[in-house]
């Protein structure tokens, strides 16, 4: 458990270092995800303890967004000024992205629409 937690943190650290050194436009943890994925490809399977550690983190992932979301209190003035256009833009754009992506995926993977 601690061993695999160390592996996860090491991937993140390596990701942060590479992103910082090369000035890449992605966040360190996203590169860390790619590194851990590479490790799994080499390994050929997911070790049970790593799977359990990751599942534990991911099952509760929603909780992790609460501190950042609370940051809304710093922007009350700006938000109330442009509340209507900003809300409309978020709602329309998020819906458009979902519908367009899903329909394109269905169109391009014809005949694969099982389940």
């Amino acid at each position: 458990m601690i061993g695999y937690l160390t592996l996860i943190l090491s991937c993140q650290l390596a990701g942060e270092v590479v992103v910082g050194a090369l000035g890449l436009p992605v966040p360190g943890p996203v590169l860390g995800m790619a590194l851990l994925f590479g490790f799994l490809l080499l390994r050929g399977h997911v070790p049970d303890a790593l799977g359990a550690t990751a599942d534990g983190l991911l099952r509760n992932m929603s909780l992790l967004f609460v501190p950042a979301g609370t940051g809304v209190i710093m922007h009350v003035a700006l938000l109330s000024e442009a509340l209507v256009p900003l809300s409309l833009a978020v709602a329309i754009s998020t819906s458009a992205a979902i519908v367009v992506t899903a329909l394109m995926m269905r169109l391009l993977s014809k005949g694969a629409d099982r389940e």
């Binding site: 966040p27 860390g32 929603s62 992790l64 967004f65 833009a89 754009s93 458009a96 992205a97 995926m105």
Partner: protein
């Protein structure tokens, strides 16, 4: 009473209180979500943020003080993002089989997100700063903030819009997908991850592992695609 006041002075300055508040608010919001038969309007992230904001407002606490306690939870976002490699690896055979469809759908969806958000603000005459602030709103927060800064937007407001987009997609995404009749878990996950990054992915993982893996993949790819392409596109228009 005096003791109570002293205890509060001590607690409000230590990280313990706001860390506990964050966990307790999320527990309460999750319980409400379950009791309400997972009604999307009772989204636990939204509920928990609402509860925390109410407590902070009632006690006159500023965000910096709150974050001293909440940072321990916030920190785990990094390791959780890395851990998305595991569901992705478990679903890799699906991804390999349709990588071209995935790439093309992701790029069109990503473009739809940016173009429609900017178009709404342009029609409302909201100004270039707000347009640059909202353009990267479907991308995971740390990347979106970097992009907003590059385009001349307000990064901290971008973070708020990113979170709201995530919650909106987690709440209404499944309903929209049912409405247009897309049942394939791969397409559903890809759509949620493209539009609603980590918050959508967290929700998708609770519903179906294939959807969760595709959502995590879409979140990572959309972050890379938007970070690379949006500044170039932006230069053509503004």
């Amino acid at each position: 009473m005096n003791n109570l006041a002293q205890t509060w002075v001590y607690l409000s300055a230590s990280p313990l209180f706001h860390l506990t508040l964050t966990l307790a608010a999320f527990q309460a919001a999750s319980l409400l979500f379950e009791k309400g038969r997972r009604n999307p309007l009772l989204n636990p992230v939204l509920g928990a943020v609402g509860l925390v904001v109410a407590v902070l407002a009632a006690t006159g606490t500023d965000y910096a003080t709150y974050f001293e306690g909440a940072q321990f939870v916030h920190f785990l976002l990094g390791p959780a993002t890395v851990a998305l490699a595991i569901p992705l690896y478990r679903q890799w055979h699906h991804v390999r089989a349709s990588w071209l469809a995935i790439g093309a759908s992701l790029l069109t969806g990503s473009l739809a997100a940016v173009a429609s958000a900017v178009a709404v603000l342009w029609l409302a005459d909201s100004g270039t700063t707000l347009m640059a602030t909202i353009a990267p709103k479907s991308v995971t927060a740390p990347v979106a903030m970097g992009i907003a800064e590059e385009l001349g937007g307000l990064p901290s407001l971008t973070a708020v819009l990113v979170i709201v987009s995530g919650i909106f997609g987690a709440m209404f995404g499944p309903l929209l997908l049912n409405l247009i009749g897309v049942k394939d878990w791969r397409a559903r996950g890809l759509a949620i991850g493209t539009a609603s990054h980590g918050i959508g992915t967290a929700r998708a993982l609770q519903v179906n592992e294939t959807a969760g893996a595709f959502s995590g993949l879409a979140m990572g790819l959309n972050a890379m695609a938007t970070a690379l392409l949006l500044p170039l596109l932006w230069g053509l228009f503004f």
